[in-house]
């Protein structure tokens, strides 16, 4: 029995384990400095986690991977464009861009939801195609409509022609670069210790209130102590500390808090009536409908939430450390692809996803992303391979996940009809 549940576990998370092994292998083969990998990973995790987390609700509502979050990213870019053009900077600028994203994202999400309701069962592919289609509309908007029909300041337009500049800059006097990230930074280790202390305190608190078992509390405290002890090992702690060779790794506290709040949001929504509707619609539209749930409306809400969250995620991404400028006409293009691949790597499937899966997935996916180029050039002696490898990786993961899903579904179906589809004379 135990052995069986173990193999079940392995089967269920096969993709995740595969990628854990792959990323360890890549980190080794790439020969990259471990400090560099760690700092890049943390950076990318806090940049991308928000967008990946935005995928969860539509998955639970049975709509697969919402590749149309690309459109949420477009909404965010429109928001950023207007903010820059109006010269609003700092955190106020971010809030303004966020508000514009909220309005536009809701509107776009509403339309996407309506469209996806017309292609039930094909949402994943449908949303991907919608993303491509919207990209065309976006180009049109930025090339011809902005600057002519909708006036913009010359900070963002091409002087002497219509259309928006090819790249938009958030740094310098624009004042949006690191507007959130830069508010409050602490060294990674300090952050980790505070987090550990909080987790342990919370576990003990829950135990004294009899909300959790002794065993769970002990496990939490144990893990926390273990983590803290691990960083005491010089070789490990030095990755994050300031040494002769490098600076200390710092983390942006506010951004991480935002990610935490989003996780909390996802889990809170799931314990409300709305969350129950998402789940019910995701599991059986027929039953949900018979129970009087407005299936189409529920699905539209799921997509609206996802689109807005993805838009905000895109703002978090754009302002983050190390970005600074973005390609006006292309920055949104890979958003859906990378986020979708990340959540799948984390062990989510097109009908099941959790916060943890999203976070683990982002972590693993980006560890491959960072090391792919060096690893590929070390392996094949050609650095160009690395570039292709990234695209190959993302599409590969998605294709793999879709195949696994289809395979599981057909297996389930087969099990359901086994009773009949029997083998006759042998």
């Amino acid at each position: 029995m135990n052995k069986k549940s173990f193999t079940e576990h392995i089967k269920k998370y096969a993709v995740t384990y595969l990628f854990i092994m792959l990323s360890v292998f890549f980190i080794i083969v790439s020969g990259m400095d471990i400090h560099y990998v760690a700092s890049q990973l943390l950076l990318r995790l806090n940049r991308n986690a928000f967008i990946v987390l935005a995928l969860i609700i539509p998955i639970i509502a049975g709509m697969g991977i919402n590749f149309a979050i690309t459109i949420g990213a477009m909404a965010a870019q429109i928001g950023l464009l207007l903010t820059i053009s109006w010269g609003v900077s700092g955190i106020v600028g971010i809030l303004l861009a966020g508000s514009i994203t909220l309005v536009l994202g809701s509107l776009f999400g509403f339309l996407i939801g309506k469209l996806l309701n017309k292609m039930k069962g094909q949402e994943t592919i449908g949303s991907m195609i919608l993303g491509y289609f919207a990209n065309g509309a976006y180009q049109l908007l930025f090339l011809f409509i902005f600057g002519s029909l909708i006036p913009l300041s010359d900070k963002v337009t091409i002087v002497g022609a219509t259309g928006v500049q090819n790249t938009l800059n958030l740094t310098g006097s624009v004042g949006l670069y690191k507007a959130v990230d830069g508010i409050f930074q602490v060294p990674f280790l300090t952050g980790l210790y505070v987090l550990c202390a909080c987790a342990a305190a919370f576990a003990v608190f829950q135990y004294t209130r009899k909300k959790t078992s002794l065993r769970r509390m002990a496990v939490t405290v144990g893990v926390v102590v273990f983590l803290a002890a691990l960083t005491m090992v010089p070789a490990i702690g030095d990755i994050f500390r300031k040494t002769a060779r490098h600076n200390a790794i710092t983390v942006p506290v506010i951004t991480w808090l935002l990610i935490g709040v989003l996780c909390l949001f996802n889990s809170t929504v799931m314990s409300t009536r709305l969350g129950q509707k998402f789940r019910a619609v995701g599991q059986s539209q027929t039953v949900a409908n018979a129970a009087g749930i407005d299936v189409d409306r529920t699905r539209v809400i799921a997509i609206m939430i996802s689109t807005v969250l993805a838009g905000w995620g895109q703002i978090v991404f754009m302002q983050s450390d190390g970005i600074g400028t973005f390609q006006t006409y292309a920055a949104h293009e890979q958003v859906g692809l990378y986020a979708g691949a990340a959540i799948l790597v984390g062990g989510a499937s097109i009908d099941r996803a959790t916060n943890t899966q999203a976070l683990i997935g982002t972590f693993l996916f980006h560890s491959l992303f960072i090391t792919a180029q060096s690893a590929a050039s070390n392996l094949f002696g050609d650095s160009a391979v690395g570039e292709y490898f990234r695209a190959f990786l993302s599409y590969g993961v998605i294709a793999l996940a879709l195949v696994i899903y289809a395979w599981r579904a057909s297996k389930k179906k087969k099990e359901g009809s086994l009773d009949l589809s029997a083998m006759a004379k042998n």
Partner: protein, 530 residues
């Protein structure tokens, strides 16, 4: 006086395309009465109820004509939600439960008990927190009122079929302000004792003033529980009768439009069966929730029809399900002298076993596909029949001929064998399942409750077909059924299961007393008997 009625459906006409499935049907129900709705498979019973419940299939296919009056008020019910608001509840023929949800979550689906908080006050009640504690309490109470002791937090998936029915009923009872409750063949999936329990629950509900519309094929239940009876035939109203002024025989005659066929008879076997053992079952344990089998020893002879009977929950259903690898099993099973791997559904199939499942929902019909494709599907997949020699194309002519024969043999009521299975009535879908299993021509066939939800006339046909195949091709059949009468009319021997074991193996001709004792687990003979 029309004020007497809680529900009136007057002159209802419904057409699917050019086919009229309801023609000027009128149904009137008083509060607190149990009103039985009778008719053959495909007579239009479910369709009439779909009209009442505002199901999307009705409105997406052009709606209906006629008027519906609920509580004296003329209404047009547009959606199931609308029906619910007007106090009409339905226990569906196909279960409307979410397998991945707990019983509580299913009972309370879309009627959750919630707790408001700051955010929900601003953004609306959809964001109120679920109050799982109180939901569970309500579910518990509703389950108790239908006499179900199961854990209200258990997941629905994996529960035995009979339980699901009671969960559906518990859900309807849990709704407040319900005026009319529709039961579409609730007993079709229940065993006899569960059915008895259900009738008790129904009477109990009716005594609280709720009107019940009760669709069934079992006339004894009608005579037991109903106050008034309406009979449909081919979409037309035949008659509405008072229970006290009618008899089973009259009802059967009105339904079928022919004489009484309620007694099933089968010609007896002429030559004795061979002495060879087809299947040897030793110490079989099956972990099927609600139907646990605890150490069954049984020999099935080649070429016989062996019946397996017994009360609900005693484990008789567990036997075929365990051997077919659908539920966890332990023990030793030999088929034609060879060991049969347990817990291995594919392995069981490879060894030449086939099964018609008791679980109507799990039968896995391809609803969008035609009847003929469904019938030949397994045979085509498994033994490559109905394919042309060259390039393996479908042999359309052979398929059509075979399907037409099955449709005629089992009297599948349809416009043609090309009709999609999804548009058949429930009973006729069941017949397609039987046809599909028979098409496999297995050497060894399990049939579990093959006649559930099938009307009397069709029952005879299904049983006749099984017997004919047994006689002509020597197919060994093990038939599990809760209807003793059915077992006694077709089987050569009948094993009675009590408390998960074989209590006795009896001959069809043995006395009622012997059967009674065996079923109650108090048989003198005890244990095995050849």
């Amino acid at each position: 006086m029309s004020g007497d009625y809680i529900l009136e459906m007057n002159h209802i006409t419904k057409e699917y395309g050019s086919v009229a499935v309801l023609k000027d049907v009128t149904l009137r129900i008083r509060p607190g009465e149990i009103h039985a709705l009778l008719g053959e498979n495909g007579a239009g019973k479910s369709t009439l109820m779909n009209v009442l419940f505002g199901m999307p299939v009705i409105h997406s296919t052009g709606g209906y004509r006629g008027e519906v009056i609920v509580d004296g008020e003329k209404t047009n019910i547009l959606s199931p939600m609308d029906a619910m608001d007007k106090g009409i509840g339905m226990v569906h023929q196909e279960f409307m439960l979410i397998p991945g949800f707990s019983i509580t979550d299913n009972i309370k689906l879309n009627r959750e008990i919630t707790r408001p908080w700051a955010v929900s006050r601003v953004l609306g009640s959809d964001l109120e927190f679920l109050n799982r504690g109180r939901m569970a309490e309500d579910a518990r109470a509703a389950l108790d009122s239908v006499g179900m002791g199961i854990d209200e937090l258990a997941l629905v998936s994996g529960l035995p079929v009979g339980h699901m029915q009671f969960i559906e009923i518990a859900r309807e009872i849990d709704k407040r302000g319900i005026k009319v409750l529709v039961f579409d063949e609730p007993t079709a999936v229940l065993t006899e004792s569960e059915a008895q329990q259900l009738l008790g629950v129904m009477k109990d509900i009716a005594s609280r003033g709720i009107a019940i519309i009760f669709i069934t094929h079992r006339l004894d239940e009608v005579m037991d529980a109903a106050d008034t009876i309406t009979i449909l035939r081919d979409g037309t109203l035949v008659q509405t009768l008072d229970k006290k002024k009618t008899s089973q025989e009259q009802l059967a005659a009105l339904m079928i439009g022919r004489g009484d066929e309620s007694v099933i008879s089968v010609s007896r076997r002429e030559k004795e069966i061979s002495g060879k053992v087809a299947m040897e079952i030793r110490d079989l344990w099956v972990n099927m929730p609600g139907e646990v089998t605890r150490g069954v020893d049984l020999d099935v002879m080649e070429g016989e029809i062996l019946g397996i009977g017994g009360l609900a929950g005693q484990g008789k259903i567990g036997i075929p399900n365990g051997i077919m690898g659908l539920y966890e099993a332990a023990g030793k099973v030999k088929l034609f002298g060879k060991d049969l791997p347990l817990n291995n559904a594919a392995g069981a199939l490879k060894c030449g076993l086939a099964m018609v499942s008791e679980d109507r929902r799990g039968v896995g019909l391809l609803l969008d596909q035609s009847i003929e494709d469904n019938i030949v599907f397994s045979a085509m997949q498994v033994n490559g029949r109905f394919l042309k020699k060259w390039l393996g194309q479908k042999d359309a002519a052979a398929i059509r001929a075979h399907a037409d024969k099955m449709v005629a043999d089992l009297d599948i009521r349809c416009t043609s064998a090309q009709q999609p299975v999804g548009t058949l009535s429930g009973g006729n879908q069941q017949k397609v399942c039987v046809a599909r299993a028979l098409t496999l021509e297995p050497k060894f066939l399990f049939v579990a409750e093959p006649t559930r939800g099938i009307d009397i006339g069709a029952k005879q046909l299904v049983l006749d077909t099984l017997v004919r195949l047994n006689r002509e091709t020597g197919m060994t059949i093990v038939m599990v059924s809760s209807e003793l009468q059915e077992l006694r009319s077709v089987c050569d021997r009948i094993a009675i299961i009590a408390e998960g074991r074989v209590e006795a193996v009896l001959r069809p001709g043995d006395s009622d007393v012997e059967f009674g004792l065996a079923m109650s687990g108090a048989s003198r003979k005890g244990g095995k008997r050849k």
